[in-house]
Amino acid sequence: MATPLTDPRAARDAVLARVRSALKLTGDRGAARAAAEAYLAARAQGPRPRIDGDLTERFVLRAGHMASTVERLADRSAVPQAVARYLDALQLPPALAAQQSRAGVCWPEFAALDWAGAGLAIEARPTQGDDRLGITGCYCAIAETGTLVVLSGPDTPTATTLLPDTHIAVLAPDRIVAGMEDAFALIRRERGAVPRAINMISGPSRTGDIEQTIVLGAHGPFRVHILLVG
């Protein structure tokens, strides 16, 4: 570690003291601390929209609203062929034709699939930034909003969802939960602590900054395709 930062303690104490004086709080804050800890432990939820019917159906509907596309597959071995079909079916203007490239990267969990058999050149490595196609899994998904939830980790390089022109995500229907609260509960239950990054992705990267005209592929993928497997 290099240079220490200038006296971070003094600014901290000054700000906290000003907060207390602004709130006219003096003396022991023990009761307030206990109340805060109790609130954290209670994990109270706000009002939630009712989600009728099947979570998968709702997920597919909402993912579509966010401009993701979804295809259902019977099992994992069908993934490479489905990816190839998806790429072939893309109708891109000549300026974007390079995006139809059959080369790309995937997360290690998909390394053993028969990519070559489907005419694809997929390497199981984290993306470096110039890959056209990124194939990932996801931790779970949220039916309410059609959202993919990706958690960071050694085997789940998060930028692979983001840097390639096309992001294809493989999702198991039994990992679809109703709302964001349920995704957080699942993370706490299965992982204990939150990972470095929770990336909640709902469709391709978009911007409306110029004349409020929506354009896809602002910085991240131009398209997100979800393969529901199982």
Binding site: A22, P154, L162, M200
Partner: protein
């Protein structure tokens, strides 16, 4: 950022006659306003959700010291460094110190209003480092010599694509593009290189989560995700008021924020970052810093406009404001425009420098009705108007007029007489079409429109006549 809020009237006057701006502003209504309304029905009980959002923000503010301590403890436990900034200068100094510590040369930046308060980009450049804004709108402003943003969600709402096309051709040295899509693709290519070569990402923070010591970043472009995932250092800067207790609270607020901002049910990228990257991870920052900023927030916390600190920066209040819709964001003269800006600006830069802002409101309460965290914006504007009056900041003629009016209003007989004369004179002046085209002491009003003349008798006269019938 330079404050020019005292020039509100003059700037607003110019903006009202800016045809291009008026055309762009006219699109606000069909886009943002209608999209918001249509998205509300998806949440079964939007009003109950608003109430819950308000409660979450109030809970944090009521014991802010405790929540800040919990946030600090949990963030530190995950290996992040939590720093506090007392004022804008501290923010800039801390960012530069962190940059020096990690030998940073290039910084990619995610839109952050807090960093606009301290003009962080200028400080970074003055220190000889490179900074690139990555939000498309902010990038456009940056290459236009740091033009000021005019909206907190759509910073270049005031610009047409032709203006952007000229700017890109000049800044990138490329043939001029004409379509919005081509322009976006060109920006994508330029910015992609910066993401891949930057040493540090600087972001704001939509929320700081006390429970986990995390920052929540919300974007549609994905630029926050790239800026905080690829460089080796991530610095998240936000105000002390941005604390929320739990992840459940984030879930509730995320039902409100995107709907209120753009009418989306969810933003495309919602990221929650906690600490530096772990063992074996390929992507992610190796060093994570939080800068928690006061810069006048404790002043608001202890004031009668405390409720303004609940703000989650959705922009709905300005989208729905008849004044904003006509004069645009630049007239407000500082970082935050619209109704929320009319509270925050005077509180941060001093009422004497911005007293025109709370006055520039019809108090119609459209903003208060749409605010997702139920900030009573017109009430707060009224409180600041009172302060401006009682501190003697209003001009002498306004104070004299109010004094004269209160003298008369407290004497019912005199009031009846004065109004009886007044309405008759006005009717006479108006002539046949019943409209007054010029008021000698109210030219500010009649320059832009006619004043409908009174009917010739006062309300009390009419009422009495009606009762007699």
């Amino acid at each position: 950022m330079q404050v020019s809020s005292m020039k509100f009237k003059a700037t607003a006057h110019v903006k009202l006659h800016d045809a291009r701006l008026q055309e762009n502003l006219a699109k606000l209504k069909p886009k943002f306003v209608n999209a918001r309304r249509n998205s509300l029905s998806e949440v079964d009980d939007f009003e109950a959700t608003r109430a819950a959002g308000k409660a979450i923000r109030d809970r944090a503010l009521d014991n802010l010291d405790v929540w800040l301590e919990i946030f600090e403890r949990n963030a530190a436990a995950r290996g992040a460094t939590v720093l506090f900034a007392e004022n804008p200068a501290d923010v800039n100094a801390l960012v530069l110190e962190i940059a020096a510590r990690h030998a940073v040369r290039k910084i990619v930046k995610v839109k952050s209003m807090v960093s606009e308060e301290s003009a962080l980009d200028h400080a970074i450049e003055a220190a000889g480092l490179q900074v690139v804004e990555t939000d498309l709108g902010e990038y456009i402003l940056q290459i236009n010599d740091y033009e000021a943003p005019s909206h907190i969600v759509g910073p270049v709402l005031h610009k047409s694509k032709d203006e952007v096309a000229d700017l890109f051709a000049k800044a990138h040295g490329t043939p001029r593009k004409t379509g919005v899509e081509e322009l976006c693709r060109e920006a994508r290519q330029v910015l992609r290189q910066h993401y891949l070569t930057a040493d540090m990402g600087v972001s704001g923070g939509n929320f700081f989560v006390a429970e986990t010591g995390s920052v929540v970043l919300v974007t549609n472009e994905g630029n926050a995700t790239l800026s905080t995932t690829l460089p080796k250092v991530h610095v998240a800067i936000s105000g002390i008021e941005k604390i929320v207790p739990t992840l459940e609270d984030v879930a509730t607020l995320m039902r409100l924020l995107p709907r209120s901002a753009t009418g989306q049910s969810i933003s495309n990228y919602v990221d929650i970052y906690t600490g530096p990257k772990g063992e074996g991870e390929h992507h992610g920052a190796e060093h994570m810093y939080f800068i928690v900023v006061d810069s006048g927030r404790t002043g608001i916390l202890g004031s009668e406009v405390r409720e303004a600190l609940r703000c989650i920066r959705c922009g709905a209040c300005m989208n729905h404001c008849p004044v904003y819709q006509n004069v645009g964001g630049h007239s407000y003269g500082w970082v935050y425009p619209g109704p929320i800006g009319s509270i925050l600006t005077p509180m941060y830069v001093g009422l004497e420098q911005a007293q025109e802002l709370p006055a520039a409101s019809t108090l119609c309460n459209q903003c208060g009705v749409v605010c997702p965290v139920m900030i009573p914006l017109p009430d707060l504007q009224r409180k600041l108007r009172e302060q401006a009056f009682s501190r003697g900041l209003r001009p002498w003629y306004e104070r004299a007029a109010l004094k004269a009016w209160s003298f008369v209003a407290l004497r019912p007989g005199l009031y009846a007489l004065a109004t009886r004369i007044g309405v008759r004179v006005m009717k006479l002046v108006a002539g046949r079409d019943g409209r007054i085209h010029r008021l000698p002491i109210g030219a500010g009003w009649t320059d832009g429109r006619d004043l409908a003349a009174p009917a010739g008798r006062t309300f009390r006269e009419l009422y009495r006549a009606r009762g007699a019938r």
